[in-house]
């Protein structure tokens, strides 16, 4: 549920390669500003819809992001608004996010949880590294380490290691290929469980439209559509 934006869906959550403001929900050190909205249908279940609207702005070296992801099912509601702040200085970025996670079964059983993300990132020329601790103090917390490099001026790749609190560790790799100034293709793979993600982004000026799909070993693939605005 955390990786619900179109970009995160295509990248299997490798936020180090992401160019979507919506992924502030999975990384406190995105160093992006703009607006992102998305619609996701998890596992192609027509009864469940996930919507997101996320914004980020900067004040000199300080970036502030906030947004909300809302999941709706007839009998279940989940939403996760958050506030992020991170500071960038000479390639370093240090940030934290606070999430308020609400879920309710029908109207009777609403429950609030507060969770925190911490992250640090460093970028130098074509290389980058990101270490993040997500949803600290929840059972779904995870520690993620990601490294990235540029294979060429058109292709960036990344490798990630994820240590979830309650599941087995897994690896993931991702790639972004800039085929044309207007078209990018994104792909990723992870083990445990074995999943592929891919997407295509059409970009024109400050606008970017993206569609992505991500497979699952037992369930139908997840589809996602997003519209991003950069400023």
């Amino acid at each position: 549920m955390q990786e619900s934006s179109a970009m995160a869906n295509a990248l299997s959550g490798l936020s180090i390669l992401s160019e979507s403001v919506a992924d502030y929900s999975i990384s406190p050190v995105m160093k992006l500003k703009g607006l992102s909205s998305f619609y996701t249908r998890p596992f192609n279940l027509s009864q469940i819809s996930i919507f997101g609207l996320h914004n980020a702005v900067n004040i000199n070296n300080l970036y502030v992001g906030l947004g909300n992801t809302y999941l709706y099912h007839q009998d279940y509601i989940y939403h996760n608004p958050y506030l992020n702040a991170h500071y960038c200085w000479h390639g370093f970025a240090l940030g934290a996010s606070s999430h308020m996670i609400y879920d309710a079964v029908d109207e009777e059983d609403g429950n609030y949880d507060w969770a925190y993300d911490l992250g640090v990132a460093y970028n130098w020329k074509d290389y980058g590294a990101e270490l993040k601790l997500l949803r600290q103090n929840l059972s779904s917390s995870q520690l993620c380490l990601s490294l990235k490099t540029a294979l060429s001026s058109e292709v960036n790749i990344a490798l990630g290691y994820v240590n979830p609190n309650t599941y087995e560790d897994f690896f993931r790799i991702g790639m972004v290929a800039y085929l044309h100034e207007c078209i990018s293709v994104i792909g990723s793979w992870q083990n445990e469980p074995n999943r592929f993600g891919t997407g295509v982004q059409l970009r024109r000026g400050k606008l970017a439209l993206m569609y992505s799909i991500r497979t699952h070993t037992d369930l139908n693939p997840t589809h996602s559509l997003s519209l991003d605005v950069y400023w």
Partner: protein, 493 residues
Amino acid sequence: MKTALGLVFYLIVGLAFAQVVDDELLVIPELVKEDLADINIDAQYKEYDSVKGAFSISGYSSEVQYITSYIHLKKKDWQIRGGMRHENEFLANLQFKHRQSFVLGSFSPTWGNGLVLKRQSGNNRMKNPPHPSSFSPSGLGIDLQYNCWGLIALASQVERDVRLSEEMISFLPKTKQSYICTSTEQILAAGLYYRSDLIEAGSLYYYQLYDRAFSSSRADSLLQTVSTYLILNSTSNTLKAELAMHGKTPALKSEWCLQSGMFRNTWSYTRLLDYQRPAYASKAMLLNTLDNREEISVELQYKPLKALQFNFGTVINHRRGDINDPQWLSHSSFKATFKNSNLLIALKLKLIDREILTSIDSIYIHSKPLHLRFNLTADYNVDSNWRIECRAHYHQQEKAAALSNGSYWAQHIAYSSSGLNICGGFRVNSSANYKMLIYQNNDMGYEVLGHNNLQAEFELGYKWSLIEASMQIRQEVLNDKQTKLRFVITTVL
């Protein structure tokens, strides 16, 4: 000039609603719920001060349907202001004013710190008529000023809706409601005051009579009060105090304000021992309306940078009388605001602390549940046309058996260009077991949220020449899937 004024007016009216009270550090909507509609309308009238005429009409359609309209006309020394609301019945408040001296119709008289009439601010003591659904003094008001001296007088008679119990008034609503019974309220007041740059002082006699008795022993149908106030001004200090005497012990409300460079503080002390709140007095204490209590509040403001401001405030209300009343109540707030030409971010944290006394098996049980509230306001001007807004509230209320929490999250994207305004967004409220009150830009100034809900919202506005029209649609995605529609047409001359 007219166009510029009109533009400023439209901008401010749109923003001023719901922000007037929201900016006050220690206030929460539950404490001022009944006053919000009046405060909002007063803010709207203030925007009319600089124009010759204005007229607005707005309609609302949802589970209830109503229409409200406001008018302002000014020619030389005369001014007409008023509003009307039609829901199930027609309600109106209208005021004729000659200069600032004579007022006929509905008005809001002010005096001192608000122990007898509304709290005084500025030179004009006979303020605007309140919201059409609110009761107000109706009759004649006079405020004559000659050099440093002034004379204030008012005579009012109002037929007020009341709820009766054994032929006595058990409830006197502030707003016009359809109760079967009414009671005649008569008010007479006269006062003299002196005003200079350094000192201001005055004394007022106030008489209030209802033609029925009150069922509560704390209220009397005949109330006679003498109020005296004093205001001392220096370059950086202001001291205000008012004494109101109608029982054995005078009621006192005092305030000291210091402004020094980037620092500002306000201390206030209120002591009400034998006090009956007059019909149109301000709420003397923030946290309680009962007598036999005292309240101390402190507000500190520090602005270390041009764009950065910190506010801290606390208020404690303590029992001085009946053991059945709460022994003490306390609110504390902290607010950090960053504001430059493009960005506004305000974070507010409020702790609501109180001791609850419950009688169980003839034993009093004390409990101190934790209530806290968190508010976030964020606005960003992307460029001269685009703007994004976010509002978030989280309320945590600890009860004896279970938590009672609620949250509200709203995000909007707005575009404006050449008189066209388009705004879209959504609101999520998650308060399955708790009714949240939040400030809203509507007729009443607030909204009560219960249940879980998701609302999509769209607003379209256009301004041409002196007329502006806007329409707002809110569609509930969950629950009843109700559609709320609101339109506003405003013209400024």
